[in-house]
């Protein structure tokens, strides 16, 4: 008998509280017994005789009616509690547990695409285990499904009792090429817990089961900066982490692909350095590495890789035609295919057009010479110098880089044109020297100019011999000097410079500094372009110390520094076309296009976007769903397709794994309270819902109650 009761469970046990409603007929009955009319009756002998004869029948009928009504309400409460019967006849592990809300989180980062020991992917294994939980769940259990990617997304945000829906959503899950945002995951789980506690129709017990390959890059934040969040959450809900182990099959990855420049002249060679890493303990020899141009193999090399070693492969390729092109580098498929290729969008141009705006005719000659030392320079740069007055009416879009000479008067109209020029991917190099007017820049466009530059000119520095600090040659501007301390960079004679106050410290980067932590060359990105500022501009005048600000123009470092500054802003424009998975793609819609922007993702799916209108009238578009590696082709107008190369963040490929036991989550979460492996499934009792039968019985009783009422009523007639 005990087994019989143990085999019965309730899906929504708290609904049994409605059983208290069964007291209603009893209470009404008792109340009715207390309320009656009073009649002084003459035929009392007769009435007493009838009562004596009929009282048993009357009591029986009343009792039957009362019991029927009570039973109806009891059955209703039982049905609402969704009882089930374990047909296998054996008690389930947690026979008495109330229903729970299962929060199933599936790591969908690309590392889940690795194969497990049984040949399936880790994602397939995670889905199977999650489906098993759904199948074994009891009546009354609800489900939330999270796709742990970057960003973390709820696939089923509101707890649902629909197992079919949950299973269907699970079936649709697939690995993305993103990482895993555990902070966002924690926020979503907390939201679910809060929502559950604020509702009354949901089970109040929340169980979180996270399926992951336990990549260190994913879980390291949980152990460190997110530790407090997860500890707090583990006190509010039971958190179970299912660590999925990949097979020992080796994994090799293309971890880097860097060109000499993202822009090159048509027909001139462009160097591409590819780094291939062996992320396993097995050596690999003769690994083919292919370079593809627009899906056609154009070069191939073989490399040998030591265990956990890396090899760099250099390719040289000439882009035959002008325009944007996508280069790809591939290695053969292995245990994890997502990291076996990388993409790169480069541009072949006929020439690079540079505009120098000089203060007065001839004052920009120095910059012009530095950028184009000889008319036959092979860098393909076409330099033109003019005053702002001459530039009126010029469309800056025809230029690739604009260089502002020291002291150039920037009108609001020119500033507005420069802002749009940079947002669209153009590059600007600003020279600030003795002729610069800090107040004019301060007042320009209501202070917007200082925001655009990233700083405000404060005052000239005192006279001195300010030594250049290359800042470890991190910046491309000074990178060519690395390893050549005698090349002239460090001895560049600078006597005075502009002290600045950053207006956007988070985006202002220093390329080269001066003694005393003062910046000399700084840049900030704006839109798709970049603005580089020299805070001590080269002077063409006297080099006598005490009068001049510097003697840069006479120094050998001048030409490389200026040309590198221009190259940096040129590459910045191209960098917008090379992104990482998870980053947004954005751009300006052509002014004459009023329709949609069409984006074709690497899977071939087309997305249509409606550009948003900015206050200045320009129309911008933004695409956030870069979940896949590969090429996103953006059709802004009929004539032009922009290929955006999107690559994975290879940190996941390199990352080791974390043991669940070291996570700062309550001990109960380290192992699931109930085994979830496949072998368990065959032993799991089958739960048959009894709710339907109870409802049928309730309806039958309601019919009986009606019939009984009619019968009694007829007898009373």
């Amino acid at each position: 008998m005990m087994n019989v009761f143990a085999a019965i469970g309730f899906g929504s046990g708290w609904m049994l509280a409605w059983g208290a409603a069964a007291a209603i007929p009893l209470v009404l009955h008792l109340l009715n017994r207390r309320r009656f009319d009073v009649v002084h009756w003459a035929a009392m002998h007769l009435l007493l005789r009838v009562l004596q004869k009929e009282s048993r029948r009357v009591r029986l009928e009343q009792l039957l009616l009362l019991l029927t009504r009570v039973a109806i309400l009891v059955l209703l409460a039982l049905a609402l509690a969704r009882p089930f019967w374990n047909t296998a006849g054996q008690p389930v592990v947690e026979a008495g547990r109330p229903p729970v809300v299962w929060v199933l989180g599936i790591d969908a980062s690309y590392s889940m695409g690795r194969k497990s020991t049984d040949g399936r992917s880790l994602m397939a294994m995670a889905k199977a285990q999650a489906e098993q939980i759904v199948q074994e769940a009891r009546e009354g259990d609800a489900f939330v499904l999270l796709e742990i990617a970057a960003p973390c997304r709820p696939r089923i945000a509101e707890p649902t009792f629909d197992r079919g829906l949950t299973a269907a959503e699970l079936g649709r899950l697939q690995t993305l090429d993103t990482g895993a945002d555990m902070l966002g995951c924690a926020a979503l789980i907390e939201q679910v817990i809060d929502d559950v506690l604020q509702t009354t129709h949901l089970p109040q017990d929340v169980r979180v089961v996270l399926f992951s390959d336990m990549g260190e890059d994913t879980w390291q934040p949980v152990m460190n900066e997110q530790a407090e969040i997860w500890q707090r959450m583990s006190r509010r809900a039971e958190i179970v982490i299912r660590a999925l182990k990949p097979s020992a099959e080796p994994n090799l990855a293309v971890t880097d692909m860097q060109p000499d420049a993202l822009r090159s002249l048509v027909g001139t060679p462009i160097g591409v350095q590819v780094v291939v890493e062996n992320l396993s303990g097995q050596a690999r020899s003769n690994l083919p590495v292919q370079l593809l141009l627009e899906d056609k193999t154009v070069a191939s090399e073989s490399v040998d890789l030591e265990p956990y070693g890396a090899a760099s492969v250099g390719f040289s390729i000439r882009l035959p035609t002008e325009g944007l092109a996508v280069l790809a580098c591939e290695i053969p498929d292995d245990a994890l295919t997502a990291d076996n290729e990388r993409f790169l969008t480069v541009e072949a141009v006929g020439s690079t057009r540079i505009l120098i705006l000089e203060e007065r005719p001839g004052s920009g000659k120095l910059l012009e010479i530095a950028l184009q030392p000889t008319p036959q320079a092979e860098n393909g740069w076409s330099v033109r110098t003019m005053t702002p007055l001459d530039a009126i009416g010029q469309d800056l879009a025809q230029w690739n880089v604009v260089v502002l000479d020291d002291g150039v008067e920037v009108t609001p109209e020119l500033f507005d044109a420069l802002v749009h020029f940079v947002e669209n991917g153009g590059g600007v190099v600003c020279m600030f020297g003795p002729r610069s007017d800090p107040q004019a820049w301060q007042d320009l466009a209501g202070g917007a100019a200082t925001e655009w530059l990233g700083f405000r000119l404060v005052e000239p520095s005192p006279q001195g011999d300010w030594r250049v600090d290359p800042l470890e040659y991190r910046s491309p501007v000074v990178a060519p000097f690395a390893g050549f301390p005698a090349a002239g960079l460090l001895t560049t004679p600078i006597f005075r410079f502009w002290k600045i106050e950053p207006t956007a410290p988070q985006v202002l980067e220093i390329d080269a500094g001066l003694q005393g932590d003062a910046p000399w060359i700084v840049h900030r990105r704006s839109g798709h372009g970049m603005v580089v500022s020299w805070l001590s501009a080269p002077e063409a005048g006297s080099v006598q110390q005490g009068v001049a600000w510097n003697a840069i123009a006479a120094w050998p470092s001048f030409v490389p520094l200026l040309q590198q500054s221009v190259r940096m802003v040129l590459d910045a424009g191209q960098a917008a076309l090379n992104r990482t998975v998870g980053e947004s793609l954005d751009g300006f819609a052509p002014g004459d296009v009023q329709g949609h922007i069409t984006i074709t993702d690497p899977t071939g799916q087309e997305h249509s976007l409606v550009p948003a209108q900015r206050p200045d009238g320009r129309r911008v578009w933004r695409f956030d769903h870069t979940d896949w590696r590969g090429v996103y082709r953006v059709q802004a107008d009929a004539a032009r397709v922009l290929p955006y190369s999107v690559n994975i963040d290879v940190q996941q490929s390199r990352a080791s794994t974390v043991e669940p036991s070291v996570l700062p989550i309550a001990s109960k979460s380290a192992t699931p309270s109930r085994p979830l492996d496949g072998a368990r499934a065959s032993q799991t009792p089958v739960q048959q819902s009894m709710a339907r039968w109870l409802l049928v019985a309730m309806l039958a009783l309601m019919a009986c109650e009606n019939l009984l009422g009619i019968y009694i009523g007829r007898r009373a007639q």
Binding site: F36, V39, W41, H45, K53, E61, Q62, Q717
Partner: protein, 302 residues
């Protein structure tokens, strides 16, 4: 309602006070409806002579026969068998019952019947007395045809309030013992007596030569039992109370009441007593003329 019927309508009569006026109203209607008195002129025909016996009224001696035969004979007329009627009104507490829809109580109704009969009887020079009873005889007005008897009749009834239990058996025995000669007894009662022992008393009265008429007066509620809410029935005549759901026993009650009424009717039939049943919302015209007429026919045939 016709102008005649209103005299018999309990609703109408209930609004008439006092009892004397109410009874006169009823009788007025009764007379108008009968066209002629069913009892008038039946009591003065000569029947026979018999020899004088001591104690006979000298006024009854037939002096012509004495002159011829020198013997004393007294005339015997039909008037010797003139009606002596005793309406017996049950004034037990149960007679005070008046249903929610009834125009008057059973006692009020019984009063009307008794008054009407007495008036008619007295009006035709017959004698009428009055007996009120509960568990014993309460009031006894000897039968007379004096005209003041009706006023006495009304006064007694008006001064009577139903409050005691009933014992029909004891009352009937007492009445039979007290009556020196057979009379017409009109028993007006609800007959809600416990048991049927009083039926024997009826037989006894009949055996004693009394002419019996039983008029059972009931309230419509006592037959229909129309209550539908849980009710506490407080027994009159000191009977215990009972709380019940009337709807649950209504049918059984009605069956029991029907059996009870049928039992009384059969008992009356066996006792050769006339039986009439009236409910307090029932027009008196439905049975009162019939009652009086049938009495006449029986006298005529007898």
């Amino acid at each position: 309602m016709s102008s005649l019927q209103k005299y018999f309508d309990p609703e109408t009569l209930a609004h008439i006070q006092p009892l004397g006026l109410r009874a006169m109203t009823l009788v007025e209607g009764l007379m108008a409806g009968l066209h002629r008195s069913p009892l008038r002129g039946q009591s003065i025909e000569f029947a026979q002579h018999r020899e004088y016996a001591a104690g006979d009224d000298l006024r009854q001696v037939d002096w012509k026969v004495f002159a011829k035969s020198d013997r004393y004979y007294v005339k015997q007329y039909e008037d010797e068998t003139n009606l002596v009627c005793y309406p017996m009104i049950d004034v037990s507490e149960s007679m005070a019952y008046r249903g929610a829809s009834a125009p008057m109580s059973k006692f009020d109704y019984a009063q009307l019947i008794a008054c009407a009969i007495a008036f008619v009887v007295i009006n035709q020079q017959d004698s009428s007395g009055l007996i009120t009873f509960s568990d014993g005889v309460e009031q006894w007005l000897p039968a007379t045809n004096a005209s003041h008897i009706f006023e006495d009749f009304v006064r007694v009834l008006e001064d009577t309030a139903p409050r005691r239990p009933t014992d029909l058996e004891a009352v009937l025995k007492e009445v039979v013992q007290r009556l020196p000669r057979p009379v017409m007894l009109i028993l007006i009662t609800d007959a809600l007596e416990r048991g049927t022992a009083w039926y024997d008393a009826l037989k006894m009265a009949r055996f004693a030569g009394h002419d019996l008429i039983v008029v059972q007066v009931l309230d419509q509620d006592e037959i229909q039992f129309p209550f539908d809410r849980r009710t506490r029935f407080v027994g009159l005549e000191g009977l215990p109370e009972a709380v019940t759901d009337p709807a649950m026993i209504a049918a059984a009650y009605r069956r029991a009441m029907a059996q009870e009424m049928e039992g009384l009717r059969r008992a009356c039939l066996q006792t050769e007593a006339d039986f009439y049943r009236a409910t307090t919302n029932q027009s008196l015209v439905q049975f009162l003329p019939d009652l009086l007429a049938q009495r006449l026919l029986r006298r005529g045939s007898g």
